[in-house]
């Protein structure tokens, strides 16, 4: 089946059924999806985490990933960051006329592979077709069983360590390079974070707060933690790793890694006494082999009503890090 997709494929009739059978059901097949009618039936118990995200990244394919891999990773990672084991995801496709079914199938295959890698089943879906130019938007919703309930942006305490799982800016720099036609060796970090996080939880690490570093970057997330927990945060610039090629691109284009989006990095705030063990555990996994303590949670200064995020530069100066203003990079995820 190689066809150009038209509005007929979104009609709900024969062509829609054909698309579902020949592409979606074929690659996503599992016991729950196979039985799905208007909705899928799940058995669940206890506390679950639920999240939804739309993915509008351009280009659809880039070094290290594609919109399908991103749509699974993004949602899986949001679930993991709540201290939950991802179990199920749904996927809704808005397809622009002009996409060909081979390209769609390639993306669907990538989603199926990433779902398997993440240990989740794709249990429900939808397809709509709009006018356009062969573009694609995917919205995924994820569900997971919460196994570490205490994790929350509001749970950081003075003395806690701030751990960064790896280099900053890879996904952002990769998408930007692809869009600007810059040839380099930058590859997106697009990866499910299930394994490193489950390792921390299973080894009893006392994680206070956790967040994958996507849109808005590290700076925006640390400000959210500081505000939610009523604390301040101090990090050291020289502890933050950025790959040589990303660093080079940032220098040329005047980008700040602190505000760049990633798709396979996270920040974990961990109780002081568990911090070294946590870093050791993370370093054993290829995904988080560059994990490092980059700073600490502090109480607010006596005179300050603010919850500040401060970065100590290599020459000892301190720089106030605020939430990201301005546009960042559009359509990065």
């Amino acid at each position: 089946m190689n066809e150009i997709i038209t509005v007929e494929h979104g009609s709900g009739g024969f062509k829609t059924n054909e698309l579902i059978n020949k592409i979606f059901s074929k690659h996503f097949a599992n016991e729950i999806l196979d039985k799905m009618e208007d909705a899928a039936v799940l058995k669940v118990a206890g506390k679950i985490a639920i999240t939804t995200d739309s993915f509008v990244v351009t280009p659809l394919f880039y070094p290290g990933g594609d919109i399908g891999r991103l749509a699974v990773c993004g949602t899986v990672n949001d679930i993991v960051m709540m201290g939950a084991r991802p179990q199920f995801i749904t996927a809704a496709f808005i397809i622009e006329e002009g996409m060909d079914t081979d390209t769609l199938e390639q993306i669907v295959i990538s989603m199926a592979k990433t779902a398997k890698e993440s240990g989740v089943a794709i249990v429900a879906g939808d397809t709509k077709v709009i006018e356009g130019n062969g573009g694609l938007y995917i919205t995924t919703t994820g569900i997971g069983k919460i196994i570490a309930e205490q994790i929350s942006a509001a749970n950081c305490k003075p003395g806690d360590a701030v751990i960064l799982s790896g280099t900053l800016g890879d996904h952002h720099a990769c998408i930007l390079s692809a869009r600007m036609g810059i040839a380099n060796n930058i590859v997106s970090d697009n990866v499910p974070l299930v394994e490193p996080v489950m390792t921390l939880i299973n080894n009893g690490i006392n994680i206070r707060a956790m967040r994958d570093i996507t849109r808005g970057g590290l700076g925006t997330i640390l400000n959210e933690f500081a505000k939610s927990s009523g604390v301040s945060i101090c990090i050291e610039e020289e502890k933050i790793s950025v790959s040589e090629s990303v660093s080079g691109l940032c220098d040329i284009l005047g980008l700040d890694p602190i505000y760049m989006g990633n798709e396979g990095k996270f920040i974990a705030v961990v109780a002081k006494e568990d911090a070294e063990t946590a870093v050791e555990l993370l370093k054993q996994n290829e995904i988080s082999k560059n994990a490092c303590i980059i700073g600490h949670i502090t109480s607010r200064g006596i005179d300050s009503k603010d919850n500040t995020v401060t970065m100590i530069t290599p020459n000892g100066a301190s720089r106030r890090i605020s939430i990201m203003h301005g546009e960042g990079l559009p359509r990065i995820c």
Copy 2:
């Protein structure tokens, strides 16, 4: 706040937070959403139904509804059709640059109102901004607790009655009229079907299969029931009600109500002995006051390997109804 939305609003930084606080959180506020971080936390137990749908309808506002109302109703109705009580929905917004925040807020208010009407809480969300012309795509995912487990397209049995809850074609005719600039009094049937369906379930009606009649229309759904259950279906044309104004439009444009989409009508296949009671119960509700038995499930003919859907016309001829071929109406939902 009346601003034109730009890519900055989708950056994940300051402008995104502003949009979330001033529009989404303001109108969707509830205990679960207020505590949401990367994901929301739900308590659930037992069997749940989950469904996801993207909504791409144009125009965004039409007589009887808007894309926000549609996005809530569509997902709520899919959950209800599984014999489940809708509880939670998530909403992901893909906004085209150029939309103004007042228009967005109006749609968000409509969603909040429809969610309340349906008894569901909006528990998680996402916002992305793409290039474009002020358009909007909303993807909703719904979760509900299953209370009538037996309901399935595969559960129809010979002798069962086929009940249609009301007039066909209203939403389709409304969207088409709006798009073609035809002035008439056609209003979309855009409504949550929670009440009439819960009335059937709570009164112990033995529902075999149920489906809201959206894209693809009645013809496509009956074929799906016939195929899934290994039965044939016979319906009578004169029992199918179509409003006078919709019927007039169909005559002029050569449309067949059998394949037209609705957003507040459903088909229920019910055990023979419960059929009259079911119709009486439905008639008590304004939403389903025109409910009527339109036909019956039959076994397959001895010579036939097919599961056919046949419609008896008013002059006694029989017409074979197949699944919809062709494009229907693009962007109807």
